[in-house]
Each structure stands twice: as structure tokens, then as C-alpha cells.
């Protein structure tokens, strides 16, 4: 059983390391936003594994908050990319980018 828990934490750590690698490599800002998303999800999984290991339900609200924060961050980064692209390329009159 202990070996199983160690294996779980090692797998989660490797997943976080790999998404950190993409965070550093990623050619565009959208790649980085995506890998931050995956990193937040790895944090969710890790905190969840902690809660399951210790049978500790007090950290569950952290999961709730993190799952919403990740969404808000990736959407706002995407909107920022759109606005900067429009400013650079086409000027101010096409600011109303119809979605």
C-alpha cells in the first residue's frame, strides 16, 4: 500500500515537471497559458492525493477554488492575446472583434 502511494506521488510530480518544461519551452503565450492550466490541474490532483492519503476533508475547498481560478486565468490570457493582436495588426477600429 505504501509503495502505491509513493508511486502516485512520483507520477504526479513527473506530470508537474513535464508541464513546467512546456511552460519554459512554449513558443507562444497561448502554449504557456495552456501549460499553466495543466499545472493547476496537477496541483488539484496533488492536493486531492494529499486529502485522500490523510483522510483529511479540510483541503477540499482549495480544490473548488483552484478549479475556478484555472479557468479564469486561461480565458483572460486568451482575451489579452486577441486585444494585443488587434492593436498590432489592424488598428483601433476593429476593436469590436465579434465573437
Amino acid at each position: 500500500m505504501t509503495a502505491l502511494w509513493i508511486a502516485i506521488s512520483v507520477l504526479l510530480g513527473l506530470a508537474a515537471l513535464l508541464s513546467t518544461a512546456r511552460l519554459m519551452l512554449g513558443p507562444s503565450i497561448l502554449d504557456r497559458a495552456l501549460s499553466v492550466d495543466v499545472l493547476v490541474a496537477s496541483a488539484l490532483t496533488g492536493i486531492g492525493a494529499y486529502a485522500a492519503f490523510n483522510r483529511d476533508p479540510t483541503v477540499l475547498p482549495i480544490l473548488l477554488v483552484l478549479s475556478l481560478i484555472g479557468f479564469v486565468s486561461s480565458v483572460s490570457v486568451s482575451k489579452f492575446v486577441v486585444r494585443r493582436h488587434l492593436d498590432e495588426a489592424e488598428g483601433a477600429e476593429e476593436r469590436g472583434w465579434n465573437t
Binding site: D31, A41, V82
Partner: protein, 135 residues
């Protein structure tokens, strides 16, 4: 569920451990795909699907591990809410990011098998402009 028998708790613990192991393995798969896939759209695939399935498995594992010892509605409700938020928000975030990547020309067109959105955009603009695909 106040007095759960001891063998049942052992079985539930093993089930929870298996769920957590599968969830962690799927998270690792998502990480590997994030590093190895060539462009943003395929990376978005790995960030959306294996990651969400892994997280849901981990949530099931937490539930199996906590529920026999702490039988509050609050814990299970929180877990269900987390799962629901993930299932609802991850597709939306992926869609918005993919849309922005397409509109700002950050995708690799040589990897696309078929580009139906380009046809639609050209049709709507009267075939005249491909301005939004620039850069």
C-alpha cells in the same frame, strides 16, 4: 454509513488507491503529451481530455477514501462540484484558446488534415478577405 465494517473499508481503500494511481498516470500522460506534441491544437487535446479524466478519477478516489470515515454531505458535495466545474470549464477554456490561436494565425497549417473553418470564413466574407488569418 456510521458503522462501516472493517473489511469493507479495506476494499474501499484499495479501490481508492487504484483510482488515484490511474488518475496520476493519466496526469502523467497529459504532461508527456504536452511536451511531445508538435503544435498548440494537439497540445490542447492532451490538456483537455486525459487531464480531466485523471482529475475525475482522483476525485472518485478521494470520495472512496473519505466517505466511510466522515459521512458529511459537504465533502461529497464539494467533490461533485469540483468535478462539475472542471467538466464545464475546461472545454470552454480550450475552445476559446483554440479560437484565439486560429484567429491570430498561431497554428501550423501543415498539420491540419482539413480546415473547414477557413471555408466558412471565406464564404461569409464573400470570398474577399482573409484578413483575419494574417500574421
Amino acid at each position: 454509513m456510521e458503522h462501516v465494517s472493517e473489511p469493507l473499508v479495506t476494499v474501499l481503500d484499495w479501490l481508492a488507491a487504484v483510482c488515484l494511481l490511474l488518475g496520476a498516470a493519466l496526469s502523467l500522460v497529459a504532461g508527456v503529451g504536452l511536451v511531445r506534441f508538435p503544435d498548440l491544437l494537439s497540445r490542447m487535446h492532451t490538456a483537455a481530455k486525459p487531464q480531466v479524466l485523471g482529475l475525475l478519477l482522483v476525485l472518485v478516489g478521494i470520495g472512496l477514501r473519505i466517505a466511510p470515515h466522515d459521512t458529511g454531505v459537504f465533502n461529497v458535495g464539494t467533490l461533485i462540484l469540483v468535478g462539475l466545474f472542471q467538466v464545464m470549464t475546461v472545454p470552454v477554456a480550450g475552445h476559446i484558446a483554440a479560437r484565439v490561436a486560429y484567429r491570430t494565425g498561431r497554428i501550423r497549417e501543415d498539420l491540419l488534415a482539413r480546415d473547414e473553418l477557413a471555408d466558412r470564413i471565406a464564404e461569409r466574407r464573400g470570398g474577399g478577405a482573409e484578413g483575419s488569418r494574417g500574421a
